[in-house]
């Protein structure tokens, strides 16, 4: 009996580990980087108060904090300090329109999904960036590339 239960549990676990779902299995996007979101304690009391967005930018593999990384949101750009830290205020709004992108030299950029920040006192977003390991390539000649492109296009 015990043996049967163990086998059954094992099978269930393997299914779970393999992501046995009816949904289509999607590959992750072009880089391994990502981010975490935590909402600070407390809520804003007034609509016209600003929301604080803050966090750190890390190297995904080494955990090293990345300085001078650029954070873009809406019309504004902010930079991480020498300690890899950033912090800025943004307008409190109900619409799901806040997102943040981080770009650092030699790392793949990461962009958040839309985040609902409405009435949050503080939103802490930490980014983990993967190294940009795409090689440098020499494309030989604009005209030749265009010609090849036509030849390579199966659908013409």
């Amino acid at each position: 009996m015990k043996k049967k239960i163990f086998i059954l549990l094992s099978i269930i676990s393997i299914f779970i580990l393999n992501g046995c779902s009816t949904k289509k299995q999607l590959m992750s996007t072009n880089n391994e980087g990502g981010y975490t979101i935590n909402f600070g304690v407390g809520k804003l009391k007034k609509d016209d108060e600003d929301v604080i967005i803050r966090g750190h930018v890390f190297d995904l593999k080494t955990g090293k904090l990345l300085s001078n990384a650029k954070l873009k949101t809406g019309c504004f750009e902010f930079r991480t300090t020498s300690d890899g830290e950033y912090s800025f205020r943004t307008r409190n709004r109900q619409e799901d329109s806040f997102f943040l992108e981080v770009i650092a030299f030699s790392y793949r950029a990461v962009e958040t999904k839309l985040v609902n920040i409405y009435n949050q006192k503080e939103v802490i977003i930490d980014f983990y960036l993967a190294k940009d390991d795409r090689p440098l390539i020499e494309c030989e000649g604009d005209e030749m590339i265009k010609k090849m492109q036509r030849e390579l296009n199966n659908l013409k």
């Binding site: 239960i5 030299f105 000649g141």
Partner: protein, 455 residues
């Protein structure tokens, strides 16, 4: 019932931990190790006994020997009474220096002698001060400002080995005739500030200390020689150290030929950085491999301990490419390799050296664009000049414009290139295509300037 569950949990836990550990492995660059390999090599300089230098210089002064060894136009006369030995930074070896005069007006000359790698080397240093009266050829400086003018090193025949332009004691330009870049020239380039100390007064005591003052100035000249020697050695070490064991023989031949001239990758990088002292202290691996259609070269952007920076060339895809086309690509890739290495071992200085590249990357999120815009902005002329040195060494008699056009290879997608007049772009594209494929942009077969590599 509890026991198998516990066992299962244990196994799962171990698997998860193992999986996490495997994902934590990090083979990427290690700055400390990378820096360690940049350590200087030990000095190979030795003092020449003063008596030997005296005898040698004396012989040079002998008219009969002068006629044999020294170009009559120089009219070299060495002041043997001025012969002295001066200390050199970072070595116990001393440099023998004496004042000399030549038939050239407005030129202050010194003759220097030291043993390098067991061989006695003698070189002349000629200082030409800016705004100095032609009649003034005395050794002592005539003012207390830092040196502004030009310094040339020549051999005993007066042939120029290197030239340096100074502004207020700072080197602003280095010029080494290509004919002398083939091998490590005994005494070479620059880095040095003039350290002249002006005598406070002209009394006897001060005059007695003249030797000391002179030594300070000679120290500059020596420093130039010393730095020059080692910087050239750095270039040679870099060129010799390129790992080409997996490179197709046809490309190996081109690389070897480049190394024999002032068009070597080490010289290319030095031309780009204007820093012969530091910029070539890294390892570069070049090999042949299969790349995407239309791509001739591919350089890694990660600096790895195991492989350093690696460039792959696809010679198989371009069987009609000439040696000039491949030489251009090799030189171009050497600059990528340098930029990748420099960033990985010294990020802060890299960022201050190449702010435009940082900006380009932030806008485009592309190494390719950032590197190429930088090269297109700052390097085309130099690639052209270096390629010309290679072309001449291979016996080609082609105009400069051809080499300058070739230098745009790999840069046709840059904004800098796109801003060129249409006619120029068309001419350049055609030249590049013909040397690469033996056909122009329209696919018409055209004669190539260079020889096919036989790849």
């Amino acid at each position: 019932m509890k026991k198998p569950v516990r066992t299962f949990l244990k196994i799962s836990f171990i698997l998860v931990i193992t999986f996490l550990m495997l994902n934590c492995s990090d083979e990427s660059h290690d700055s400390s190790v990378a820096r360690a390999e940049l350590d200087f090599q030990s000095a190979q300089l030795e003092t020449v006994p003063l008596e030997k230098s005296f005898d040698f210089f004396n012989e040079l002064n002998n008219e009969q020997i002068n006629k044999k060894a020294v170009d009559a136009n120089i009219d070299l006369k060495i002041d043997l009474s001025s012969l002295e030995q001066v200390a050199i930074t970072d070595t116990d070896a001393k440099l023998n220096i004496a004042t000399a005069t030549t038939g050239l007006e407005g030129v202050e000359t010194e003759i220097l002698q030291i043993k390098i790698n067991g061989e006695v080397q003698t070189v002349l240093f000629h200082l030409i001060r800016e705004n100095r009266k032609a009649s003034v050829t005395a050794r002592a400086p005539d003012d207390n400002t830092e040196f502004t003018g030009r310094i040339y090193s020549t051999n005993l025949k007066g042939e120029v080995l290197s030239g340096f332009k100074f502004e207020k004691g700072i080197v602003t330009n280095v010029n080494i005739p290509s004919a002398y870049i083939k091998d490590p020239v005994p005494l070479k380039e620059v880095v040095v500030k003039n350290t002249y100390i002006e005598p406070v007064t002209n009394d006897a005591y001060t005059r007695m200390n003249y030797q000391f003052v002179r030594t300070q100035n000679n120290g500059s000249a020596m420093g130039i020689a010393y730095a020059a020697y080692y910087s050239r050695l750095n270039i040679k070490n870099f060129d010799d150290g390129i790992n080409d064991s997996q490179l197709a023989p046809c490309l190996q031949k081109i690389l070897d030929d480049l190394k024999k001239t002032g068009a070597s990758p080490g010289n290319m990088i030095t031309n780009f950085t204007n820093d012969p002292w530091n910029s070539t202290r890294f390892n570069w691996t070049v090999k042949t491999g299969k790349l995407e259609y239309g791509v001739s070269g591919n350089t890694s952007t990660l600096y790895k301990i195991s492989t350093r920076v690696t460039t792959i060339f696809d010679s198989e895809q371009f069987p009609n490419a000439t040696e000039l086309s491949w030489a251009k690509t090799i030189l171009h890739e050497s600059v990528h390799a340098y930029l990748v290495t420099y960033y990985n071992i010294d990020k802060p200085n890299w960022e201050s050296s190449y702010p435009e590249m940082l900006k380009d990357y932030e806008v485009t999120k592309s190494f390719n664009i950032a590197h190429h815009e930088e090269i297109a902005t700052n390097l085309v002329k130099q690639v052209g000049a270096v390629l010309e040195v290679y072309g001449i060494s291979k016996g080609y008699k082609l105009d400069k414009q051809f080499y300058q056009d070739m230098a745009w290879g790999g840069l046709e997608q840059t904004d800098v290139f796109k801003k060129l007049p249409v006619a120029d772009r068309k001419r350049i594209s055609n030249i590049l295509q013909i040397e690469l494929r033996g056909e122009d942009d329209l696919g018409n077969v055209k004669p190539q300037k260079g020889k096919k590599t036989g790849c």
